[in-house]
């Protein structure tokens, strides 16, 4: 019989993960009940979405629960898939074939800095070195037609899908002892095992906020925030989501992170705001390109970027919030 102490993740996280799967079970039963005795098309999209949540939660839990190396590799893979989706979606130049190859190469390097815990390099590699190198490589090709658009879209894509998302991974390697020193008395005594709890907290709050904003928006409706970009986003949804996410953060924050009750509440609100911005930013890109979804990887959700859109903003913002105050 193995005890919870033997698991590679902190005990608290085990309970939180169990609750997430409990919630998922509840939602699945709810949707199944709504569909009972009806034609297959009724709420089909919702059903696909719930099914996909099981896969995503399952894969993610597996990836963070085994060990830190696997978690970093998993997040690097996520970045890779996101960049691939982005580059497949936007106009690119045939001449830039090799430049794109170099852009992809930035992913393993960036996540190596994460793995090694080399913060100084992690934080400048893409915004400085890759940012300076790619246009240089592009210039060597000698193709000036569409140069600005090509380098602009590539640099922005790398910042969003690789640099921003890699902040989620860096939560895993934040110095362990800081947590124990700052909050020795709280329930996070098990936290020293890894930063998996912080990463899980970010993911759960971000995804919960997406769902909460959607549900509140559907239930109340009302005036829209930016109808030209995202017609579904209402003030009611945004504020309802922010309230729900902050409440959830009040419960989970002190359990999984060194945050006090107040800081956790503020953290939740910050995630809600950043998540909203990330969501509408990707929406604007989709509008510009004239596509409905960024891809078709996740049934019921669309592409990977349709799911990771909020995370491109919440990951760096939450990371710097918690790093500034606690590490």
């Amino acid at each position: 019989m193995i005890s919870l102490q033997d698991l590679p993740i902190p005990e608290n996280l085990v309970y939180v993960i169990a609750s997430v799967f409990g919630l998922l079970t509840f939602s699945t039963l709810l949707v199944a009940l709504m569909r009972r005795g009806k034609a297959d098309e009724v709420h089909k999209e919702l059903w696909l979405r719930v099914k996909s949540w099981w896969y995503m939660a399952g894969i993610f839990t597996f990836a963070i629960a085994i060990n830190r190396t696997l978690s970093v590799i998993f997040l690097a893979l996520l970045s890779f898939l996101a960049l691939k989706e982005y580059l497949s979606m936007i106009p690119t130049r045939r001449a830039d074939h090799r430049v794109l190859f170099w852009a992809y190469l930035a992913i393993p390097i960036q996540f190596y800095w994460v793995y090694a815990g080399w913060y100084g390099m992690f934080i400048i590699f893409i915004p400085v070195w890759v940012f300076l190198f790619l246009p240089f490589r592009m210039v060597l090709l000698g193709e000036t037609q569409g140069f600005l658009r090509a380098i602009g879209t590539l640099s922005w894509g790398l910042m969003m899908t690789v640099f921003a998302l890699s902040h989620a991974a860096y939560l895993l390697v934040l110095p362990e002892s800081a947590l124990v020193e700052l909050a020795p008395a709280t329930a996070i005594r098990q936290f020293d095992k890894s930063g998996a709890g912080l990463l899980f907290l970010l993911m759960v709050l971000t995804q919960f906020n997406d769902v909460a904003q959607y549900v509140w928006g559907k239930m109340i409706g009302g005036p829209k925030i930016i109808p030209k970009v995202s017609p579904g986003k209402t003030w009611a949804g945004f504020l309802g989501g922010m309230l729900s996410t902050s409440l959830l953060a009040l419960v989970l924050g002190p359990l999984l992170s060194p945050m006090s009750l107040m800081m956790a509440g503020i953290g939740g609100a910050i995630i809600a705001l950043a998540g909203f911005i990330g969501d509408v930013t990707i929406s604007a890109i989709k509008r510009d390109l004239g596509v409905k979804d960024t891809g078709s990887t996740i049934p019921g959700h669309g592409g990977l970027l349709d799911r990771l859109d909020s995370l491109t903003y919440t990951a760096p913002v939450f990371f710097h919030y918690i790093r500034y105050f606690y590490y």
Binding site: F80, L81, K84, E85, L87, S88, M89, I90, P91, T92, R93, R94, H97, R98, L100, F101, Y104, L289, G290, V291, G295, S296, T297
Partner: protein
């Protein structure tokens, strides 16, 4: 036997991970692909990756039957490539410049054995992501085997991932749109035209970003 095993392992361990992870496949109407031979898949040709993607679409059980028809002058020019093309990719070599005899004879034999042929009627990879006129071979095959279904398959993205003349692979999503199978119509010229028309229609299904 050992070659069949190597071929299955190559598809399972190298091609499928490459197609699913390094590229990513967005396939529409997969159910229209033939589930048994004899049959013919007609695809547009942009990249060496085309053949690999098509091979990855079939279940391993069916794999020994799936045979790409490919140019002998290109793939049999050196012994190592020839071994790989013949045994691992499983090509049916066809002489592009005929020196007497029917260049399609080996394709006819394969259909007689109940195999599934992959044909690129554009004849060459050409400029990536551009459709060109079809050659007549596929009509001659259909004429001889009027009961064999000819399934068009439109591929996009592979020419971006590995265009002709590039040695470096760059990941891009790949779209594969399967069209309804068609049969011999009775006339070569119109058969080819209809097939080209169907392929162009499949191409318009996708919303592809500019790439030039």
């Amino acid at each position: 036997m050992i070659n069949q095993l190597l071929r299955a392992l190559f598809i399972l361990l190298i091609v499928r991970p490459l197609v699913l992870l390094a590229m990513g496949l967005n396939i529409r109407r997969r159910e229209l692909l033939p589930v048994q031979g004899p049959a013919v898949i007609v695809a547009n040709h942009n990249s060496h990756l085309d053949t690999l993607v098509i091979l990855s679409l079939f279940p391993l059980k069916l794999l020994p039957k799936v045979r790409p028809v490919a140019a002998a002058d290109y793939f049999l020019k050196n012994p190592l490539l020839a071994w790989f093309a013949l045994n691992i990719i499983g090509i049916i070599p066809v002489q592009r410049a005929t020196r007497g005899g029917n260049p399609l004879a080996s394709s006819f034999d394969a259909l007689q054995r109940g195999e599934i042929l992959i044909i690129f009627p554009e004849g060459s990879r050409g400029n990536p992501e551009e459709l060109t006129r079809f050659k007549k071979g596929v009509a001659l095959i259909s004429k001889k085997f009027p009961a064999v279904p000819i399934s068009p398959l439109f591929l996009h993205g592979l020419g971006k991932a590995l265009p002709r003349g590039e040695a470096v692979f760059v990941p891009f999503f790949c779209d594969a749109f399967v069209g309804a199978p068609r049969y011999w119509s009775g006339e070569t010229e119109s058969f080819i035209q209809d097939l080209e028309q169907q392929m162009s229609e499949l191409a318009t299904e996708g919303r592809f970003p500019v790439w030039e």
